[in-house]
Every structure is written in structure tokens, then in C-alpha cells.
Amino acid sequence: MPVRLACRLGGKVRRAFGQLGSVSWLLGQCVQGLFRLSREQRRVVREGARNQIRFTALDALPLCVLTALLLGGITLLQVFSQLSAFGAERHISQILAQLVIRELGPLMVGILVISRSGTAMATEMASRKLSGELDSLYANGVDPVPYLLVPRLLGGIISIFALVIVFDTVALLGGFLVAWLRLPVSFSFFLSALGEAIGQRELTATFFKCLVFGAAIPLVCTGFGLRVKRSTTEIPQAVTKASVVSLAVLLMAGAILSVLIYA
């Protein structure tokens, strides 16, 4: 019994490392592909990345703004009720800023991108593979790695950066609106408190989280999409796995980065 349990645990660990390995391999292929591009290929990749940014960032803006506004307001309400019990309402903007910028912003944007674009990428790759489109691209001289993966990787990183900036700004403004309704705070006081709360570490954390999340989501999702073999019934399974694994990667990478930067 203990041996069987150990075997099962070992199998899961091995599979997890296998997945990590395949994501790293894809990343390596993308980086290699990026540096080998000719001038015209760079143009094609740039067009692909632009499309990806439009879908991942621009089309997601309304949802991102709505989520940020509501989350900023709700977070402030919750924090306010706790702080007011200790008479520490004046620290509200610092706490809100740190909470949103350090953790909530990148995490919520990551979840939005997984649910909108990550699932779409996994579905698209799986469908293209099953229909023989990838084979056809390869046989006709279009390497699928630089043509399909590199734009998604670049688009993912740029989009997450852009969305996190929008999310953080709107969430803080949403928080200010709620604070302004309940407390005698001015916008200039709110801004100066924010300035004190946001330092080098917050910016570093945001930068690394955007970079890691922006790279991990497209790589994990396209990787799972490319694993389908024969049947269309594999597509929903691949999409589910892609979203679950990329969410797990997001949470783990976020936690590791937070510990490394703030601990």
C-alpha cells in the first residue's frame, strides 16, 4: 500500500516535471526562433503579435476596467471596516495600494487573460493541429514556432504589462471613489499617500510578475493545445488542463516572487 501510494505520488511529480520541461522547451524554441528571424519574418511576427495584443489586451479592456473598479471598491470597503475598528482609516490608501499593486493586480489580470486568451490559444492550437494546418505550414516552409508561438509569447507579455497598468490605476481610482464617499479624503492626499506606498520593490514585483505571467500563460496554453493527437474530443480536455495548469503556475509563480521580493 505505501509503495503504491509512493508510486502514484512519484508519477504525478514526474508528470509535473515533464510538463515544466515541455514548457521550458517551448520557451527555448521561441527564444531561438526569435533570434533567427529574417527581416520579413520579423514583420510577419510583428503583425501576429499586434493581432494578439488586440485580442488579449484591447478587447479585454472593458472587462478589465469593470473588474478593477469593482475590486478596488470592494477591497476598500472590506479594509475600511477593519481599519476603522482600530481608528487607522488614514492608512487606507497605503494598504489599498500595496494590496492592489503587489498582489491583486497581476493575479486578477492573469486570471482574466487565462480565461479569455489562454483558453482561446489552447483551442486554436489543438484545432490547427488536428486539421493538419500545422503540418501544412511546416511543409510549406512556415515554421510554426516563430509564426504561431513567438507572436503569442510577445503579445502575452506586452498585453499583461498593459492590462496590469490599467487594472492597478482603475482599481486605485475605484478605491478612492469609495473612500471619498465615506471619508473626508482629498484626491491630492490620496495621491501623496500612494506615492509613499509605491516604491522600488512594488515596481520590481510588478515587472517580474508581468514578465513571468505573460510568458507562462501562452506557453502553457499553446503547449497543452499542441498535445492533442487524433480526436476532437481531446480539445476540451486540453483546454481544461491548460487553464487549470496555467492558473496553478500563476499562483505558484506569484507566491514565489512575492516571497523572494518582500520576505
Binding site: 529574417s38 519574418q41 486539421s131 493538419g132 501544412s136 505550414l137 511543409a139 510549406n140 516552409g141 512556415v142
Partner: protein, 223 residues
């Protein structure tokens, strides 16, 4: 004697269900050869084309294309230069691109043509294919037959040296046959261009007959 454009050396291909499609198959394709194939469904015609294009990986043996073995996961210079005209039965076009963009893509990506020049070349071949009015449509709109013809136009636009053309999924109507004959006829003007056309009885004037069946490939009718 010039090196053959393609050589299959002791190739074994096992189908997913475990059946051997080819076992220790040796076959060479000389430069400038033109074949149209015989062989019913399941005879291995498509499998042979997929092997030759480096899409199907042999279980044993090796495929040598233009003097360099095809190896899985390794870019092949002949393919990278866009010299293979791969025309699968459904056309193999990207569904999110228009017919024009599909023809333009390998010209820009594999042959480094600028966008304007690639579009001019692609449009010229789409006109040959009778698809100039549908150039802006995505493959799903005109349908399988037109996608297959557009795929022929793509192969022609690239100046493919080796054409591997599978039979179209939905059969051909008179207009499509005319367009295909026009494009293949122009490609065949170059004596170095090699063409293998599966199920191309409608273009028997193209060249010799190739029979594929029972795990073997040979010219002419089965002895």
C-alpha cells in the same frame, strides 16, 4: 547522374491501428519525374505523400529529401526555403487567413519577399486559379474545392521544385479541373520540377502512372 530529389531508404511506416502501410520500402524519385498515382483509399497514397513531406515519421528507415535526411524536430533546408509544394486533400490552408494571405504567407516567411511583391505574385497565381474574386475570403467561404485549388496556387507562387499533391476531398468540378490543369501545366514547363499527383487520372497526360498498394510503390500497372 544527378542525385534524386527524394529517396526512401528501407522505410517502414506503421499505421496508428498497428497495420504496416510500408515495410522496408526503397523508392527514389528522380528530378523532373512526373507521376499520377493509382491506388484505392487506404492503399497508402496519402501516407506516402506525408512521408515524403516529412509530416509522417517513419517507424524505420529514412527519407532523404534533396540530399538531406528528414529528421523530426529538425528544420530541413529544402522545406525552409519553401521549395516543397504540399497540397493536401483539404488544401491545408490556415482558416483564419484569406486565400490571398494564405498564398502570401510562405512567400514572405520562407522566401523573404516584401509584402507588396508577395501580394502581387500571389494575386497573379490566384487569377490563374480563377479565384481572384475570392482572394479576400477565408477558406471556409469558397469551400474545400476552391481551397485545394488555392493551395495549388500557393505551391506555384513559391516556385516549388517538388509538388506532392493529394486528391481533393470533395472531388473536382470542370472549372476546378481546368484551373488545376492550368497551374500544374505551367509548373510542368520547367523540366526540373518533380510532381506526384495522387488520384490524378484527370491529368494522365502529366506523366507516368505510379501504383501504390500492398505496401509497394512502382511505376506502371501492378505486375
Amino acid at each position: 547522374m544527378p542525385e534524386p530529389i527524394l529517396a526512401l531508404e528501407a522505410v517502414t511506416l506503421i499505421a496508428p491501428e498497428g497495420r504496416a502501410v510500408f515495410r522496408d520500402l526503397d523508392w527514389t524519385l528522380e528530378r523532373g519525374a512526373r507521376f499520377h498515382t493509382r491506388g484505392g483509399a487506404g492503399g497508402g497514397c496519402t501516407a506516402l505523400l506525408r512521408l515524403c513531406a516529412g509530416i509522417a515519421e517513419p517507424s524505420g528507415g529514412r527519407v532523404v529529401l534533396d540530399g538531406t535526411p528528414l529528421e523530426p524536430g529538425t528544420p530541413h533546408p529544402f522545406l525552409q526555403r519553401g521549395l516543397l509544394g504540399w497540397v493536401p486533400s483539404d488544401g491545408g490552408l490556415a482558416v483564419n487567413l484569406s486565400l490571398l494571405q494564405n498564398v502570401v504567407l510562405p512567400l514572405r516567411f520562407a522566401q523573404n519577399l516584401g509584402r507588396a511583391e508577395a501580394e502581387r505574385t500571389a494575386m497573379g497565381w490566384l487569377e490563374q486559379a480563377g479565384l481572384e474574386d475570392r482572394a479576400g475570403q477565408r477558406p471556409a467561404v469558397p469551400g474545400d474545392r476552391e481551397s485545394w485549388v488555392a493551395s495549388l496556387a500557393r505551391a506555384a507562387a513559391k516556385g516549388s521544385r517538388l509538388w506532392l499533391v493529394d486528391r481533393p476531398a470533395g472531388g473536382l468540378d470542370a472549372a476546378s479541373i481546368q484551373a488545376a490543369e492550368r497551374i500544374l501545366g505551367q509548373a510542368a514547363l520547367d523540366p526540373d520540377v518533380t510532381i506526384v499527383l495522387v488520384g490524378g487520372a484527370w491529368m494522365s497526360s502529366l506523366g507516368q502512372e505510379l501504383t501504390i498498394g500492398n505496401g509497394r510503390v512502382f511505376s506502371g500497372v501492378e505486375p
